[in-house]
Structures are given as structure tokens and as C-alpha cells.
């Protein structure tokens, strides 16, 4: 193990995957998270292991990332997914008109597809709207939003990383213009102290802007919330998407005994103030029931919101116009050394985000250590606690 010590701020999917990656490369890692791990956006996401098909037409870069990671994750985290696949269903002539673009997008980005007739689709999923025209099967899947990142953290911990939940970063330690550590508040023992580091990575998701300001730099992160509604009953086995340009309420992800309808999209300033507008809940029911009519009568289990950490212009209106890909910032470009920010992406792409970030980190530290996360099979999530 090298003598270098890296502090990661944020215990979401991104921070967890990065802790795992850097630890495998022989770097000493300390991850600090202000609450319980995965209590930010990560735990609250839709639970979709993306095939990328959703982005195949408009955002091919994200689509390619998704399908590649989808295949890698199935290999390194067996048991964390339901291998239930997904269907894109066309309900209207307008949806049908989108079919050609969709198939071309999938072909160009390497996403396997299988077109099903109406009858074939209904045989697999009898609760679908019987008016559907056709459906396309893709390798989407259901994932456990919390337990996949826990597996990254568990493996990192067992390889020597330190993980500190309930430790909030309150400021950065500077040596001249170089970040040399973090100031943290330990909410458990009520004490403040500093952790020295050779390099600090800001993986604070929608809070990344807030953390970057501690270093006097700016990152263009737009917290873009979406509402999700979980209803009782598992109405389909597969993930159901609407075959059209990505919009509101057009995905239903079955999770255990629930079906989760999502999502909407707007933008906010503060990811700690997320309300759940009543009209968004109604919209989810309405849109979800277009694909699966029985959802209209399914009792609600929960409605909640989570904020996407999207990279882009703060002028964004809804967040839908922003790419779902990710970006790594080396703040040396703004004159601050020892400080790197990683934002954007998806939970599905956390591993590649970590790989690209760790490549930059080891380069900056002057180490020659290749990425190994494509091969190493992760420990089960229970190993995080034991």
C-alpha cells in the first residue's frame, strides 16, 4: 500500500465506488459522509439498472456508458439484481413513429433488443395496457439502490479503507493554495477535528457545489429533483418503459412487492429542501396507468423526491435537457491543487465514474496503478456491517 492518503467526501454510489477503486490501487482511503451512507440521492433512486435504452436516441454517450456498466455490474455484483429485463411499450401511433429512431439508437450504442408483438408482450406481462401496439425487450433490470453501493463500501473496508458515517465536512484545510485535508464534525461524539490528506475528492452529488465553494471554486451542478411513487403490488415482472422521448412518469420499476412509478424533473437550489408536490403524485399515477391500467387503483405505499446531481448550466429549466453523463473536475485548472470533484452520471455508471476519477487521482499523486474494478467480484452487502 502506498503512503498516499485520499479523503472522499460523500458516501453515495459515486463515493462508494471510488473508495473501492482507489483502495484496490493501493491508496489509503478515508470516506466521510454526513449521515448514514447512501442517505443522499443514491438510496432514493428508482432502482433501475439501466440498459441505456432510455438515452439511446438523445444522449448516446450516456447510453453507451450504461450498457457497458450494466454488463460489468452483472459480473462483479451477482445477486444484486433481478435479471428481469425491461420492456419499452408503444401505446400510440406517435410512439410507433419513434420506433425506428429507437431501434437505430440502440443498435448504434450496442444495446441488444428484441421486438415483441402485442400478443407476445401481453403473454409475458398480462397487466400491460391491452391497447399496446408492440414492445421492445432490453436488458434493463431491478437493482437494490442501497445494497449495491454497500457492496462497494464493504469490499473497500475489508481491503483497508476507513468509512465514517455521521461525519460532516465543515471546511477544507489549506496549505497555501493546496487542499491538504478536511475539517469534520463527528455528530456521534460531538467533536470537531481535521483529517490530513494528500488529495481530497468531492463526491457530494447534488451537494457538490456547496462543498466546492469551501475550496473557493465553482462546479456547475444543478440539483434536479424527481418525484417517485411506490404503490403496493408487483404488477409486472419486467421494468416497463414508455417507448417515446424520455418524459414524466414513463418508467415503472417492480421492486419486491412494490411497483415504483417515476419520475418528474425540475430544478432547485438546495437539495435539502425537496417537497413532493401533490400534482406530481397525481401525474405519476396517471402516466403509470397509461402503461399499466391497474396502477390507477393500487394503494400508495410512499411518495418521495430525490435530487439528481446533473452537470450543466444553472439556467436549466426542467433538467430534462441536461445530459445524464458525468464530469470530473481537476480544480488545479482554477489554481486549487489537491482537490478533485466528480459529479453527474447514474448509479448504474458509478463504477466507470470512479475509474475515470481514480485515473486522474493516481496520475496527480504520481502513482502507476491500473484500475481493477472490472474484474474484482464484490463482497455481499452484509459484509459492510460485519
Amino acid at each position: 500500500m502506498s503512503a498516499y492518503h485520499v479523503v472522499i467526501i460523500g458516501g453515495g454510489a459515486t463515493g462508494a465506488a471510488l473508495a473501492h477503486d482507489l483502495t484496490l490501487r493501493g491508496v489509503q482511503v478515508t470516506l466521510v459522509e454526513r449521515g448514514e451512507v447512501t442517505s443522499g440521492t443514491t438510496g432514493r433512486h428508482h432502482g433501475l439498472l439501466h440498459s441505456g435504452a432510455r438515452y439511446a436516441v438523445k444522449d448516446p454517450e450516456s447510453a453507451r456508458e450504461c450498457i457497458q456498466e450494466n454488463q460489468i455490474l452483472r459480473r462483479i455484483a451477482p445477486g444484486s439484481f433481478e435479471l428481469n429485463d425491461g420492456l419499452f411499450v408503444a401505446l400510440t401511433d406517435e410512439d410507433l413513429a419513434y420506433y425506428d429512431d429507437f431501434m437505430e439508437g440502440c443498435a448504434n450504442t450496442g444495446i441488444p433488443t428484441r421486438t415483441l408483438s402485442r400478443d407476445e408482450a401481453l403473454r409475458l406481462e398480462p397487466n400491460l395496457n391491452p391497447d399496446l401496439k408492440l414492445a421492445v425487450q432490453v436488458p434493463d433490470g431491478t437493482m437494490d439502490a442501497m445494497r449495491l453501493p454497500l457492496r462497494f463500501l464493504a469490499t473497500a473496508k475489508h481491503n483497508g479503507a476507513r468509512v465514517h458515517p455521521f461525519h460532516q465536512v465543515t471546511g477544507l484545510v489549506f496549505q497555501g493554495r493546496t487542499v491538504a485535508g478536511v475539517q469534520v464534525r463527528d455528530h456521534r461524539r460531538g467533536r470537531d477535528f481535521t483529517i490530513a490528506a494528500d488529495l481530497v475528492v468531492n463526491a457530494a452529488g447534488p451537494w457538490a457545489e456547496h462543498v466546492a465553494r469551501m475550496a473557493g471554486v465553482d462546479v456547475p451542478v444543478v440539483p434536479s429533483p424527481g418525484v417517485l411513487v411506490a404503490v403496493r403490488g408487483r404488477w409486472t415482472n419486467m421494468v416497463i418503459n414508455r417507448l417515446h422521448r424520455a418524459g414524466d412518469g414513463d418508467i415503472v420499476v417492480p421492486q419486491r412487492t412494490l411497483s415504483v412509478i417515476g419520475t418528474s424533473s425540475w430544478v432547485v437550489d438546495d437539495p435539502d429542501h425537496l417537497d413532493v408536490p401533490e400534482e406530481h403524485i397525481r401525474l405519476m399515477y396517471e402516466k403509470g396507468a397509461e402503461m399499466i391500467p391497474a396502477l390507477a387503483r393500487a394503494p400508495m405505499r410512499a411518495a418521495w423526491a430525490a435530487a439528481r446531481p446533473l452537470v450543466g448550466s444553472r439556467q436549466a429549466q426542467s433538467g430534462r435537457e441536461l445530459s445524464r453523463t458525468f464530469k470530473v473536475f481537476d480544480h488545479a485548472a482554477e489554481g486549487v491543487e489537491g482537490f478533485v470533484t466528480i459529479v453527474g452520471g447514474k448509479a448504474t455508471t458509478a463504477r466507470i465514474m470512479a475509474e475515470v476519477t481514480a485515473d486522474l487521482v493516481v496520475r496527480k499523486l504520481g502513482l502507476d496503478a491500473p484500475c481493477r474494478t472490472r474484474e474484482v467480484v464484490l463482497l455481499p452487502h452484509t459484509a459492510y456491517y460485519t
Binding site: G35, E36, T38, S39, T42, G43, R44, G47, P78, G79, S80, F81, E82, L83, N84, D85, R123, L124, E125, P126, N127, T142, D144, A145, M146, R147, F166, Q168, H187, R188, R189, G190, L228, A230, G233, R234, W235, T236, N237, Q255, R256, T257, L258, V260, D272, H273, V276, E278, A294, A298, R301, A302, A303, W304, A306, P380, T382, Y385, T386
Partner: protein, 377 residues
């Protein structure tokens, strides 16, 4: 939506090093939709950033937000605050080491799962191959357990036996028996067939009542017993010894032993049913011995017997007769309740059944006492 009203949240507070836990009260605005979790997040954001709580999925799926709200184990993310009265008390789960405030250490909970030496917490790949079609909306799956620990928190046996395997782990073991998927069910059976395993359960059934996802661990334990008693005997496998780490290395002192039995704090209906059942059971045993001793008087001749009959007509003795009748009635009727619940027939109604048992006991008792009094006079 109506305008927000205000609720006082009485929150359990404890940090390592504190001499004892205390409660802080926070005023929080609530709408009809506000959940306990959202209120706690708002407290942490606006009033006290040092408040520790666990949460992740916000929709009853990850199992991290388990708490006791007014003494009842719930998932905070799906528990609305409205309509609970002006003051609501929030406390951490029981029977787990306390890390601070509302956060407990799940280490021992997961340690039990790994003890079995087989992956009891299993993958979620079941439905891929099985392609369920008609009736899928009613499908409940063996992976339903959220690992939230509510069942362990409410379990009276977990409260008194730190090595008890507990409802969640035994429900997982029963899953292996029901649907092995490549595992060896005999090993699961051998694992629970031990002092701290399924025989330790006292059938309080609170685990099944509080379970947020219909896992029915109580019935699973009953089923394991049935299989062990009636089914093919499990080979003496390499069942791991119970080696759960000692509880509460850091938290405030918790109840142990006999005192824990009668401590009323944080107890639910099923627990009291269990305590009454044990006490009446013990009382009946004592009564039987007493009865044999009294019968011995017969051997001493009619005089001794007449003396006894006179005593038996005294008001004190009649009161004891009433008590005995209560014990017989309650123990018998609750025995029927336990059997019904244990067979799975009425698991969801164990609390209602308890009240029915109590009511019937009291009615029959009143009739019995009336008959007794009439007979004496």
C-alpha cells in the same frame, strides 16, 4: 392540502459518554402527508444538525429507517405524523447496540445471518426464470425481508437472550427449507435446532405484527419447529454455535434476565399475552401440586376433610378459586389463540384475538364466579 399544523416530537437522545439518555422536544410543522422521517430530517436541517438517524430509500424498501414511534416499531419513511396527537415520542430500536440518538448498530443483526455458514440473505434472481404471469400482483416473495430489524426489536426473547437467533434470521432459514435453490435445507434445519434457535421462541407473534413487508417470521419459526418435530430428522450438521457478539458495548444499560421480563417499557400486546400465558401456566402447575396435597387429606379421614371444606367456604378461599378460574380460562383460550396464530390461520389478527380471549375469559369468569357464589350460599 390543508395548511400545516404543528406537532411536538419528543426525540430520544444519547451520545457515547452521556451518563444517561434524555429526550429533546422539537416543534415541527406537519401536513397530512408528512412522515416521521421527513419531520426528523427537517429537525436535523433546521434545528439540530447533530441529530443522528438512518434512512436511505424513503419507500419501505431498504429497511434502514426502523424506529419506535410511541413505543411501536415502524419504518419512519412510511409512518405519517398527522393524527397521532400533539406529542409524538420517537426512540431507537431495542435489542441492538445503540450508536447514538436514533441509530443502532446493525452488526449483530447481520452477524446472525452469517453465522449459519450459508447465504441466508439471498439473491433476488428468483423471478427471472419463473416468469410469473396471472396473479403476479399478489405475489409475495421469499426475498421480502427488508432486514430492518423491527421484528428483533419487538421480540421478548431477543430481549432476554442475547444469543437468540431471532425472527428475521429464522425466517430466512425457513426460506431455505421451502425453496432451497441449490442450498442444503438440512443445514438450515440443523442450525435452528438449538438452544438459542427455534425452540426458544415463546410465540409472542409481535414479530409478524410489526413486520412491514409480510414476511411472517413468527409463522416461519412455528413451521421450522413443525418440520423438525414431524419431518425427517435433520442430520447433525456442522451447525455453528451461537456466537453473537455481546450486545450494547456502548449504549446505556439495557434490561437483562428476570427483571427484563416484567419491565413494561416498549412492550406490545403480544408480549403481554406471552407474559400472562407463562404466569398462568406456572400458576396452574403450582395449583396442581396444591391440589394433590389437599387430596392427601382424604386419607386422614372425614374430620380433616370437613375442616378443609369449611376453609374452602371462606371468602379468601373463594377469591383464590376465582383466580384459579381466571388462570384456567385464560391459559386455555389463549392456548387456542396461540395454536391458531402458529398455524398461520389468524396471524394478522393476533392482537385482536388477544383482546377477544381476554373478553371471553372475563365473561366466563363472571359467570363462573356467580355460579360459585350461588353454590356456596
Amino acid at each position: 392540502m390543508s395548511s400545516p399544523s404543528t406537532v411536538q416530537l419528543r426525540v430520544f437522545r444519547y451520545k457515547p459518554g452521556d451518563p444517561a439518555p434524555h429526550y429533546d422536544t422539537f416543534a415541527v410543522p406537519v401536513t397530512p402527508r408528512t412522515t416521521v422521517l421527513e419531520a426528523l430530517q427537517a429537525i436535523r436541517r433546521d434545528q439540530d444538525p447533530s441529530l443522528m438517524l438512518r434512512h436511505s430509500c424513503h419507500h419501505a424498501s431498504c429497511g434502514t429507517c426502523g424506529l419506535r414511534v410511541d413505543g411501536q416499531e415502524v419504518l419512519a419513511c412510511v409512518t405519517p405524523l398527522a393524527d397521532r396527537g400533539p406529542v409524538v415520542t420517537v426512540e431507537p430500536l431495542q435489542n441492538a447496540p445503540l450508536l447514538g440518538d436514533l441509530v443502532v448498530d446493525m452488526g449483530p443483526f447481520y452477524a446472525v445471518f452469517t453465522q449459519a455458514g450459508m447465504p441466508l440473505v439471498r439473491s433476488t434472481e428468483a423471478t427471472a426464470a419463473s416468469r410469473p404471469a396471472a396473479g403476479i400482483e399478489r405475489l409475495t416473495r421469499f426475498e421480502n425481508c427488508l432486514e430492518c430489524g423491527l421484528c428483533v426489536s419487538t421480540c421478548p426473547v431477543a430481549a432476554t437472550d442475547p444469543l437468540y437467533l431471532g425472527p428475521a434470521a429464522m425466517a430466512a432459514a425457513w426460506r431455505v427449507v421451502q425453496e432451497p435453490r441449490g442450498q442444503n435445507p438440512a443445514r438450515a434445519l440443523a442450525w435452528v435446532d438449538q438452544e438459542h434457535g427455534c425452540w426458544r421462541c415463546h410465540l409472542a407473534f409481535e414479530c409478524s405484527t410489526v413486520c412491514p413487508n409480510d414476511v411472517q417470521p413468527g409463522q416461519a419459526i412455528a413451521a421450522l419447529r413443525q418440520r423438525l418435530a414431524l419431518g425427517e430428522p435433520a442430520p447433525p450438521g456442522p451447525a455453528a454455535a451461537a456466537t453473537r457478539p455481546a450486545l450494547a458495548p456502548t449504549g446505556p444499560a439495557r434490561r437483562v434476565g428476570l427483571r427484563a421480563w416484567l419491565d413494561p417499557r416498549g412492550r406490545d400486546v403480544g408480549y403481554w399475552a406471552f407474559v400472562l400465558h407463562r404466569l398462568t401456566g406456572l400458576a396452574l402447575v403450582v395449583y396442581l401440586l396444591l391440589h394433590l396435597w389437599v387430596l392427601r387429606l382424604l386419607a386422614r379421614g372425614p374430620a380433616a376433610w370437613d375442616e378443609f371444606i369449611a376453609l374452602a367456604r371462606s371468602p379468601l378461599f373463594l377469591a383464590l378459586d376465582g383466580l384459579l378460574l381466571f388462570g384456567v380460562l385464560f391459559h386455555g383460550l389463549n392456548g387456542v389463540r396461540v395454536a391458531l396464530v402458529g398455524l398461520g390461520a389468524a396471524a394478522r389478527r393476533q392482537r385482536g384475538l388477544f383482546w377477544a380471549v381476554l373478553l371471553l375469559t372475563l365473561l366466563l369468569l363472571a359467570a363462573g364466579v356467580a355460579a360459585l357464589v350461588a353454590a356456596v350460599h
